[in-house]
Point group: C2
């Protein structure tokens, strides 16, 4: 009876989950970034938003939503904060007045010089081997693109 019960509920054991360790590793990653990012006065979500800005220089909110796999309402508040810090400007799009245009400022661009050291700090502790990182990233990208 006890064995039957174990069998029936096996799928609910924490150790058998895929989603839970994904969630836990993501939390662990965020905790790891925090002290490094504090020196740039950025949170993690602000940091990945700036990554897009450093690369594209000029986007609208929809571009960010797609690049970051977030929802627009999550970004609205965050963009106001980045604007307040002077890293971006927010303008109305003349062409399509529904859009906003987010533009990297000089101060925002300058921040990249301080940010450039972060990736090597983050990855230096060898959580995984180089080969494992490649496999891991391949699986993640597949999951992100997947339609589920």
């Amino acid at each position: 009876m006890e064995n039957n019960e174990n069998l029936k509920f096996e799928s609910l054991y924490l150790k058998n989950q895929i989603c839970f360790p994904t969630y836990a590793v993501a939390n662990k990653i965020l905790r790891r970034y925090q002290p490094l990012l504090r020196e740039l006065d950025l949170t993690y979500t602000q940091y990945i938003t700036m990554m897009v800005m450093w690369e594209k220089r000029k986007v609208n909110e929809k571009d960010l939503v797609e690049a970051l796999y977030l929802k627009a309402n999550t970004l609205t508040e965050l963009l106001k904060k980045l604007k307040k810090k002077g890293y971006i400007d927010i303008e109305k799009d003349k062409e399509d007045k529904r859009n906003i245009v987010i533009v990297l400022t000089d101060k925002g661009l300058a921040l990249r010089e301080k940010a450039v050291n972060i990736p090597s700090c983050i990855y230096q502790d060898h959580w995984l081997s180089d080969e494992e990182f490649i496999v891991f990233k391949g699986l993640l990208d597949k999951m992100l693109k997947g339609n589920w």
Copy 2:
């Protein structure tokens, strides 16, 4: 010059990140659970907490912190809510009065019957093949156990 700049800041491109897709997949997973868990009146974090309770029946806060890779202050509020819903009871430990003892209630145990279908719903869309899931979970578990 433009090429040099690309090279210098390559490590800051979103597409070269490992942490970002981990974070994005975790968000995607949480969004996927939400509608299913709403029927149980549980959030995702409450759900994984209940997983521990279904298995252990009786734990203290520290056990949960270790099992879920969260911080104690995150759990304090959450436990109050689970208590309010009647799924757990919270008592003082007589042996060591610093501890609290969290006990699964009958109502909490009964909830497991409704939860047992969730895992198959979640995993049915084949985000990855069975083999890929095994590899993925192996890497996640390694990262969780790693000391970084």
